[in-house]
Subunit: 120 residues, 4 copies
């Protein structure tokens, strides 16, 4: 069975949405908990972006780690959802999906949503 | 901004696909690495299913952990992608998406794909 | 090389402390981020205890997950260090080490420490 | 209660062993599962080293990721224990513990052990 056959019930648009969503779920659950402070924020950001870009159909990944209000008594904190802003662009043929993760204070929840889907 | 507004660029079908995909990415990256053997396989399966069912729009989760060929010298192994078969059913209004994760030997890869999307 | 040779520079007491500490680090970083609410708290607790008990020299694991102050807008939260109280008992021959993880408010930190080591 | 009081039942030697062991368990269970290939190996290595060095009493961390025999059909693999060689040096006052993680083929297991403890 070819790889394409596994996706025959999806349009290109749907597959772009699908692949971007997998990668956003992956990113959150892989890296939450990682020790981080202002000195190591950059290398963590780069490693997250590099690793998630490897996943199928992922065109670009931008990670912002916000530690402004964070202070652990031992000089670092564990990465949490409320510190993360992420944008993933997934592409299948002519379709690009822009997926975001953003902490929504009213929901007390790191919401993952689709910002836009561009075709053609 | 209401939760629904975040998803206004998606049809119900697309949102079902989106939410199922997030949860599949989450499941893999949260639980890979967990120590497991034949005695603890059942409690791990139940915990994975229970936790992933909490995620938005997830209707059902079925996890199979296959340890047949696995033998660690210390009596257990770390959970790997090749041991997992997962089915997630996500539902948004009248649309159900059936998402699967299955190890594909030729690809040496735990493939996540959409088996079917049922409407109405 | 036999397994014992890898540990020849440690006393039984040191090895009990060593193995308990590995398992506590493992527990935190494996399960932080898991979706949980009051309905699924029990199955998550059991799976954490069962899996960590598999690790070398681990005699007992007790996990308390405290969700009292937690409320996610979507009906669940991601497991965080401040929700966890853990006791691990590791044993090497006649020595038992009692390792704890406890959230220390002043430190804003889930501290892992040795409560006691019992010999003979 | 001061931080030191939590560790009053440990000698400096024992505490160095204890802190190094926590960090080794943390490292394995945080990063196993991360997508990686030869292009991203370097940034992942740096992020692992940087984040684990933040943990209490950790003096140095050296991570080797060995992908020689690995080939995923989609151009990358998930990080597994058998790909990792790690050395952590923990220090408490005059005592340095050298902790290693190494895949032991006969055990089919990523063994964590103490290579040496140097005092004074």
């Amino acid at each position: 069975m070819s790889l394409e056959e596994y996706f025959k019930c999806l349009s290109d648009r749907e597959r772009a949405i699908f692949e971007g969503a997998i990668s956003m779920g992956a990113l959150f659950h892989q890296f939450i908990g990682t020790p981080v402070n202002k000195e190591t924020l950059k290398s963590l950001k780069v490693a997250i972006e590099d690793s998630i870009k490897l996943q199928p159909s992922i065109e670009d990944v931008e990670v912002e780690i916000n530690l402004e209000d964070e202070e652990g008594g031992l000089g670092y904190v564990s990465l949490e959802g409320k510190m993360l802003n992420v944008k993933i662009i997934s592409q299948v043929k002519d379709v690009k999906a822009i997926i975001k993760m953003e902490y929504v204070d009213e929901l007390n929840y790191p919401l993952i949503y689709v910002e836009d889907v561009k075709e053609g």
